[in-house]
């Protein structure tokens, strides 16, 4: 998080997060291709489905690791508030959309969009939180 920083914990977190995001993209393509083209059965279906969730789980663990490594507790507080904002916005938007889908014939929101949507909301939330402390 943050564009200009000398904070080593932030750099490590950002670098690792980019790697995990790339892994998520690669695994998603691989799983989609595998499930559609390979006519997989049994446990292979489960393995292919679980594959893209691994970088997501790792990203959550990575966030926990960052919180332990971060010596600047203000920066930790900003991240916690941003994550909370991201979780809140994702839950609110998907709940509203769910009702619209079920009862107002709105277009179906693919559940696979949750992670990218969450990341977008965390990013927006981060900008708002940082602006509040300016």
């Amino acid at each position: 998080m943050g564009c200009k920083t000398n904070n080593p914990a932030v750099w490590r977190f950002t670098r690792r997060f980019i790697v995990l995001s790339l892994l998520y993209a690669v695994f998603s393509v691989l799983s989609t291709y595998g499930l559609l083209r390979w006519h997989s059965t049994g446990i292979v279906i489960w393995l292919l489905a679980v594959l893209p969730a691994i970088p997501i789980a790792m990203a959550v663990l990575l966030t926990g690791r960052y919180m332990r490594e971060e010596k600047d507790d203000f920066q930790s507080a900003v991240l916690v508030q941003s994550l909370l904002g991201g979780i809140g916005a994702t839950l609110v938007v998907t709940t509203v959309w769910g009702f619209l889908e079920n009862y107002a014939h709105f277009r179906r929101l693919d559940i696979l969009m949750l992670w990218p949507l969450y990341l977008v909301f965390v990013g927006i939330s981060y900008g708002i939180v940082k602006a509040r402390y300016r």
Partner: protein, 64 residues
């Protein structure tokens, strides 16, 4: 929570960046504490007291 960070900094002619370097935190952290938007943790409050060679009570007061 009110604080005297700006005054203590000015007495030493330190910029926010100078203080941030001494505390090993970001300049934004110093700014957030100084403007009263963020209350520091106890370890950081002790560090501030050490840097300014005073007590926590001499830097912070709990009046709104």
């Amino acid at each position: 929570m009110k604080n005297r960070l700006r005054v203590l900094r000015a007495e030493r002619e330190w910029s926010q960046a100078d203080l941030a370097e001494r505390l090993e935190v970001s300049r934004q952290s110093v700014n957030a504490i100084e403007t009263g938007k963020y209350d520091p943790s106890l370890p950081l409050a002790f560090k501030l007291a050490r840097v300014f060679e005073t007590t926590i009570e001499a830097i912070f007061s709990d009046e709104k």
